[in-house]
């Protein structure tokens, strides 16, 4: 039972990050290497807010918004300037922002790791099916599911989602219809940053908040995005579930095999289904 709970909570955290990565790739054509750094920044900003106000919920509300603004600034001040050039410039730029964000974090918060306590109401474990389940994990699952659902509704059903999909599929054509594609790009990057930071704040009570935390997570996200199929958000959710459950099972039964399993999944996908395990022609955001 606890494997399922840990696996699901891991899956939804991965999906928050992978969804942003995928959206940004679909719209900007760029793999955002700084995605892990934005996740880390979300956790640190969340820590700061919790530290100052004593409320986890204020951190959950405001830290992602602050990081979304940082994302918008990165897009406007830096990325926008190099869209006309080769993709490699944009890649290098997002890579550069890992270093910038890391150094800024060091300057503001120092080298020590930080901790965010589990919110009061999720302190006590819950007994379910004869085992003790940490209730914060259950919250992560419920919250992750709700955010994922909201994201799908936004993309599939709302006017904004339709505009994002159209602008991702053919930016020039969308522009002739009156879509301000520049603004859509900024918005999508900010949305991706928001989701990454949301993942960071939600993870904060579960893991130590430290400089390296973005790095390990971004590798997993790349695995999810490649297994799910680049730019395919439906694939990303299935791949998140696959990887999250694999990892949870691995930690319990064969800790030393977890990394191997993860990368076997990745290499297998690249060899046999390079477009992604769940690639489908047609609708993908």
């Amino acid at each position: 039972m606890s494997i399922i709970v840990i696996g699901l909570s891991l899956s939804f955290l991965l999906f928050l990050l992978a969804a942003g990565l995928t959206l940004i790739f679909g719209m900007l054509g760029v793999i955002n290497f700084a995605h892990g750094a934005l996740y880390m920044l979300g956790a640190f900003v969340g820590y700061q807010i919790v530290h100052m106000t004593g409320s986890f919920w204020l951190g959950l509300l405001f830290a992602p918004l602050i990081v979304a603004c940082v994302g918008a600034l990165i897009e406007i001040l830096a990325l926008k300037q190099v869209y006309d050039r080769d993709h490699i410039f944009q890649l290098l730029l997002t890579f550069g922002f890992i270093l910038v964000i890391d150094d800024a974090t060091k300057m503001i918060w120092g080298f020590d790791y930080k901790q965010v306590p589990t919110p009061e109401i999720f302190m006590a474990p819950i007994s379910m099916f004869g085992s003790q389940i940490p209730s914060y994990r259950l919250f992560v699952i419920g919250f992750g599911a709700a955010v994922s659902l909201a994201l799908f509704l936004l993309l599939d059903r709302s006017k904004w989602g339709m505009i994002i999909r159209a602008a991702s599929s053919d930016p020039e054509m969308a522009q002739t219809l009156g879509v301000n594609v520049n603004r859509v790009r900024t918005g999508v990057f900010a949305l991706g940053a928001y989701l990454a930071a949301l993942g960071g704040v939600v993870s904060a009570p579960l893991v130590p908040i430290e400089l390296g935390m973005g790095f390990s997570v971004i590798i997993d996200c790349f695995v999810v995005v490649i297994i799910g199929g680049l730019g395919n958000i439906r694939g990303a959710i299935l791949a998140s579930l696959l990887l999250g459950m694999t990892r949870a099972a691995g930690y319990t039964y064969a800790t030393e095999w977890v990394e191997l399993l993860t990368f076997a999944l990745l290499i297998g996908t690249l060899m046999f289904r390079p477009a992604g395990l769940f690639s489908t022609k047609g609708r993908s955001a």
């Binding site: 020039e172 522009q175 002739t176």
Partner: protein, 233 residues
């Protein structure tokens, strides 16, 4: 009234110059066609009008105002609709969404989704299908409908009849005539004279990135042999 003009526009793709000092004028209510062979520069002229290409020199003028510096989304909002040559249906949107995005982003006016579905009932039947599952002819209807729903004053049509069966071409010509009779100005690109002779009031013959000839459709009839030479492969 003069609706749109390109004045002495030079346009390049990298180092290659595609248009040499092209000047074009379209008056309100006209049907004007641009004819010429492959690679003549017709599509580039339309892209320059809608802002997907910026002239390196020359001006774009809309109702007397210099709009050379405007972006495609701004030109679209001013009232220019664009049907590109490869149709460019959004393949991750349904047929209905391909129309709805034009309704949402475009101007309001006489064209509504209801009217579009009356004119092209097949689009209603296919409304929930993905945009890329339509046949070539259906995609063309969708591309034209999408442009109409932005309620433009000037509609740019890049080879709208290319690859369509003769019966469908006739239907499309009828639709375009009706659209024009209701007051919309059309700028039509074609490689041959078939459709322009039926629809257009005035013609521009484009070759090698320059305007080689222009005149009324009656003038063109009088000089038919000369024109045929300019556009034949």
């Amino acid at each position: 009234m003069k609706l749109l003009a390109l004045e002495s526009c030079n346009v390049t793709y990298g180092k290659a110059q595609a248009l040499h000092s092209v000047s074009i004028e379209v008056a309100q209510g006209e049907v004007v066609s641009l004819i010429g062979r492959n690679g003549a520069g017709k599509s580039t002229i339309l892209k320059t009008i809608i802002g997907l290409k910026q002239p390196v020199s020359g001006r774009r003028v809309w109702k007397g105002d210099d709009v050379t510096a405007r972006l495609p989304n701004q030109l679209g909002r001013l009232g220019i609709g664009y049907v590109p040559e490869d149709r460019r249906i959004f393949d991750n949107l349904t047929v209905h969404e391909n129309l709805r995005i034009a309704t949402v982003m475009g101007r309001t006016g006489a064209w509504t989704e209801t009217r579009i579905f009356e004119m092209f009932p097949v689009l209603l039947d296919r409304a929930s299908q993905a945009g890329n599952t339509l046949s070539g002819g259906e995609q063309q209807m969708l591309a034209i409908s999408r442009a109409l729903l932005t309620n433009p004053e000037l509609l740019l049509l890049d080879e709208p009849t290319e690859g369509l069966a003769p019966l469908i071409v006739d239907e499309l010509v009828d639709s375009m005539r009706r659209i024009n009779e209701e007051g919309m100005t059309l700028l039509l690109v074609e490689q041959n004279l078939r459709v322009p002779m039926k629809l257009a009031h005035r013609q521009y013959v484009v070759d090698n990135g320059t305007v080689q000839w222009s005149g009324t459709t009656a003038d063109l009839l009088a000089n038919r042999e000369e024109i045929e030479k300019l556009i034949s492969v």
